[in-house]
């Protein structure tokens, strides 16, 4: 497992402190996450989302935005849990 997220102690350059507003995409992904992890659905947990994000290959982890990573993890978990057939989702690989 690449553990790309496990940056502690590694040289990583300056932290980009640029503020930015959440985009509509960001908010939709967050809403999807809340609905799927909420008690009505309980499709998966935040722990499983973390594990899935952490398991993304390094190029994807670094190439996707924060909420893009969440969306990819949500899609992968829906398939993993058998809730959605993989053929019905277009889950592109990051290049």
């Amino acid at each position: 497992m690449s553990r790309t997220h496990d940056l502690g102690g590694l040289p990583a350059g300056r932290i980009d402190r640029t503020e930015h507003e959440l985009t509509f995409f960001d908010k939709r992904v967050d809403a999807l996450y809340v609905l799927l992890t909420g008690p009505a659905r309980a499709a998966f947990t935040v722990d499983e989302v973390r594990r899935t994000i952490e398991g993304l290959p390094e190029a994807e982890y670094l190439g996707l935005s924060y909420y893009e990573r969440w969306l990819k993890a949500i899609a992968l978990l829906l398939v993993e849990k058998g809730l959605v057939d993989a053929s019905r989702l277009d889950i592109p690989d990051a290049t």
Binding site: M1, G8, G9, L10, D47, R51
Partner: protein, 101 residues
């Protein structure tokens, strides 16, 4: 339900953070693995995140400790200061430090 196990470590005890590769979700960052430290306190008992990450119950609850690690142990310290950091480590990632004086 099983009663909670007694915590293995006590405040002030010298410990060593286990050096091991992990598979799957793990809360022990790589940079502290293998480092000697000292238990500051028991934070509490929590469901094991390594199990929760795969849809498990995370039970039995696992003791979580604050462990103080000297920066010099992690990265060397040319100024030979006594600076340290504190990191939260689950019990199964700690061992008694056999080398401690």
């Amino acid at each position: 339900m099983r009663p909670d196990a007694r915590p293995r470590f006590r405040p002030g005890q010298k410990v060593r953070i286990v050096r091991s590769d992990s598979v799957g979700h793990c809360r022990t960052p790589r940079y502290v693995r293998g480092a000697p430290g000292q238990v500051v306190s028991l934070i509490g008992r929590f469901r094991n995140p390594e199990d929760l990450a795969y849809g498990g119950t995370g039970e039995p609850l696992s003791p979580l400790y604050w462990v103080e690690v000297r920066l010099a142990e992690l990265w060397g310290d040319p100024q030979e200061s006594d600076d340290s950091l504190r990191v939260e480590v689950y019990e199964h990632w700690l061992a008694e430090d056999a080398d401690a004086p």
